[in-house]
Symmetry: C2
Subunit: 368 residues, 2 copies
């Protein structure tokens, strides 16, 4: 999307063929664009979260393999590259998927053909991600248009949690794609951005995206959404998801569940945007079956921001000696979800409807 | 309650007759106890929030009048004191109440009698607050005992939001009083402390209280409570309230409503602790009738904590140019409230039951 009027992706090849990325560690305070020239560069960028978000990690891994094939396209080099990059974020499903996909394409080829084929496939993976998110956005646009039609001339207010924005993908984002499309279509939209403690991805990334693209928005604390919904200030909620089950239970950033409860209680539609290939057909009851990662206590007790001197700093908000619990995700039961917004269209969060729309994906995953 | 083994109140007269308070601006990083020796000292301490929390503000105002009567006990001095102290926090109901109460007691007396009478009444106001909160705690203890009886030998897990602790009162606190009583009774308790953005009173005050009194607790982000309740990790919720209506709608710190929704959805009892004289019988439908204060954007965009250099610092978490919305309170509808925990006992959040238990208070308020 746009940064102050100029269109960007999160990862791209420049005119000289060098891969460039936004080093997201400095957002929202500084935009740093850095070249990744070696496999080692990519390994650091993925491991140290210069790039983050499942689709972007996959895209970066694909480009990492492409660059590695320029260095050493041998069978041993390909194997070593898979290994090195896979270790950067071992639990990232898209990382593994992208590495396997590159391996599948490159292994049968002669080493001399691999560099060119790898660059082609990496480029295509990026374009495919953009196309999926563009379509999620177009289907979401239909929903926003319906809401807008009911309040002509008035702003459509959308609440989102965490960052399922273009910074987490190659472009458009998932949850933000309908918002960007509505803005382009001239529908007046305003976004309530949950700050999303503990890591504040809403404040640091979503607010930055919207700010620089020029979309009206307000940052709110995670506590505020219920009150706003109670007072009719929110027309719809759109969030992303890290994992969605066969019956439509939605695992997403901690706090999503509380917003879904408030949406249900106040008749606010609650949508989850996702590429349909990410539905996990091997899991059904999300609350019972999905283990929730507990992360470092320091994410809760320390807050990062820009100090008065302009430097990035951490401040401790709690007393020494107070322990913290830090579950990173929660599960929103399907009955609280109005619909799953995918590149194929809107699907109810319901076993039967999901099987109908995605039978091929289910069959493919369960055959693996 | 205790600070590292020694019992404290938030405001007290030392052996030399000087009023001492905890200057709460430095918590949780530093315990500073300061004397308030003049009316001007009290005005600054209340206005600049060295002391905060409705009951404590009332107690401090009463002591402020007492000290002022040592300086100038004349009729004019009494009038001026009411004026000066009332302007320190003009919207604080307990402040106004305490000033009116001191006026009521002192005005009929000869100036020469006022200093002694004022000190007596200020001291009594403090003791009355302690007694109310002690009784809230004893009634709450009964509930905790019932929960403990159902899980013998196991810890009772209690979630609280914001600070309705002893630091907001003279002693015991409201929502924390049952917890301190249970701890004293030898019942194993553990408290999930919501950090309570934007001002982090949970992280800064409640965690500090529990930490120094020696009660097991875990700090959590405001997003985490729903997930914990969904997984059976919370046995009960206890919160305080800024304003409770005649039918039991509860106005409290922003985010309380989201926790009440999660409690209801997961069968977790949700209690509100309050001195019964604070029920506002002139208001019925809290969501419709109670105007919600919107506070400074900077409370959302800037976070205060202790920097690496040990100094208190503010860091900005969001991009320059991103606006924030900052509603400070929300209203939890009565149907989400399991019960009101008062010094007279537990009362259902229901018009009829409340009128039955507090008919005298209702009549007195409506007669005003």
């Amino acid at each position: 999307m746009k940064i102050d009027g100029t269109h960007y992706r999160t990862i791209w090849q420049d005119d000289a063929g060098v891969v460039q990325v936004i080093d997201q560690r400095w957002l929202p305070h500084e935009l740093r664009i850095v070249p990744l020239k070696t496999r080692a560069d990519f390994a650091v960028a993925i491991r140290d979260m210069w790039v983050r978000g499942a689709p972007l990690i996959g895209a970066a891994a694909a480009w990492g393999v492409a660059v590695a094939m320029q260095e050493d396209p041998s069978d041993a080099g390909l194997s070593e590259t898979w290994q090195v990059l896979n270790e950067t974020r071992p639990t990232a499903i898209n990382l593994r998927w992208a590495l396997d996909e590159m391996e599948r394409v490159l292994r049968p080829l002669a080493p001399s053909e691999r560099a060119a084929a790898a660059a082609k496939r990496a480029s295509d993976i990026c374009d495919e991600d953009v196309e999926i998110n563009r379509n999620i956005g177009l289907h979401g646009l239909d929903i926003i248009k319906q809401i807008a039609a009911k309040k002509p001339g008035q702003t459509v207010n959308i609440l989102t949690h965490c960052n399922a924005g273009w910074l987490a993908t190659v472009d458009w984002g998932t949850a933000t794609s309908p918002i960007y499309h509505a803005h382009e279509a001239g529908i007046p939209v305003h976004v309530f951005v949950d700050e999303t403690r503990p890591r504040n991805q809403g404040a640091q990334l979503t607010a930055w995206e919207l700010n620089h693209h020029g979309i009206p928005h307000s940052l709110i604390v995670d506590n505020a959404g219920g009150h706003l919904m109670q007072h009719g200030e929110v027309d719809m909620v759109i969030v992303g998801t890290d994992r969605t089950t066969a019956r439509g239970d939605v695992c997403n950033k901690i706090g999503t569940y509380l917003k879904a409860l408030a949406a249900k209680a106040n008749g606010v539609p609650f949508y989850v945007a996702l590429p349909s290939p990410t539905i996990d057909w091997r899991v059904d009851d999300g609350v019972k079956e999905i283990p929730i990662e507990e992360r470092n206590q320091e994410e809760v007790t320390l807050v990062q921001g820009r100090g008065a001197d302009g430097q990035i700093a951490l401040v401790q908000i709690s007393p020494d000696g107070t322990p913290a619990r830090n579950p990173a995700f929660d599960v929103t039961p399907a009955e609280l979800v109005t619909g799953l917004l995918t590149e194929r269209g809107l699907c109810p969060a319901d076993t039967t409807e999901m099987e109908k729309m995605f039978s091929d994906l289910k069959a493919a995953m369960l055959a693996d």
